[in-house]
Symmetry: C2
Subunit: 153 residues, 2 copies
């Protein structure tokens, strides 16, 4: 190898910040793929409801009637997004809306009887979805992974 070659490599090593950047090893890229896989598993088991719609119903089951914005906070959706989700659940008769008596800005959301039936019926399927999503890991790995994932979220 010539002296010029060595110099070239040196210059490259100094300048080429992106020389060994591998997209497929970046956490964001893999996170996106893992999420994709989960959504796909979800769709295979619960075809007529999306994960965000399920999340809204499940959280309403936990907390009972709440404002649309508050529900959005609880399920990590901004106001614009949660509105669309609730609109579609309302169109299907799974939630009902009403105005807060005192604070007239607030739009209260609650499960209908049908919505409550639906979420109770779906929760066992949701458990299976969680299991299938985590199936590539051992029980010990699952514990570790969930602990670290929670730190990132």
């Amino acid at each position: 190898m010539s002296g010029e070659d060595n110099l070239l490599k040196l210059v490259e090593a100094e300048e080429a910040d992106g020389q060994d950047y591998l997209l497929q090893e970046q956490v964001g890229f893999i996170l996106r793929k893992a999420h994709q896989r989960h959504v796909s598993i979800f769709a295979a088991r619960i075809g007529d409801l999306t994960p965000p719609q399920f999340a809204a119903l499940a959280k309403l089951r936990d907390v009972g009637e709440t404002s649309q914005n508050q529900l959005g906070t609880l399920i990590a959706m901004d106001a614009a997004t949660v509105k669309g989700v609730i609109d579609r659940l309302k169109a299907r008769g799974l939630v009902e809306l009403s105005r807060h008596e005192v604070d007239k800005r607030r739009l209260l959301v609650n499960l209908t009887t049908e919505g409550r039936d639906a979420i109770e019926r779906l929760i066992p399927l949701a458990r299976e979805i969680t299991q299938e999503t985590l199936a590539p890991l051992t029980n010990k790995e699952i514990t570790t992974f969930m602990r670290l994932l929670a730190k990132l979220a």
Copy 2:
């Protein structure tokens, strides 16, 4: 507590499969939040390009000219999604399109000079984005987390 109360609890315990289902502990929900956080970090550091757009450019830098579909496979996007991403990159002059000479179905995608400059310039920022996303973890935790996440994706 009356006998009726005990009977009621028993019936509830038998029927209520979803009694202790906690949305905020489900892997899908936390995965979605972790992904959201990453996208938010990305947007703060690279405001004028989305993660999918960045992924397309970074992968084109790796593999050079490819068909649109093939690029989609490499960055985990279906045909409909990758089309939109490439259209927007083309509108900004970061990629150029051409027809495959032999197989006239294929739409070849390649970086323009401007696109190559952009991705080289952005890769150092992307490294910082990865770092910031993983900042809540120690180095050892990062190694573990990436190994397990890869298994799920």
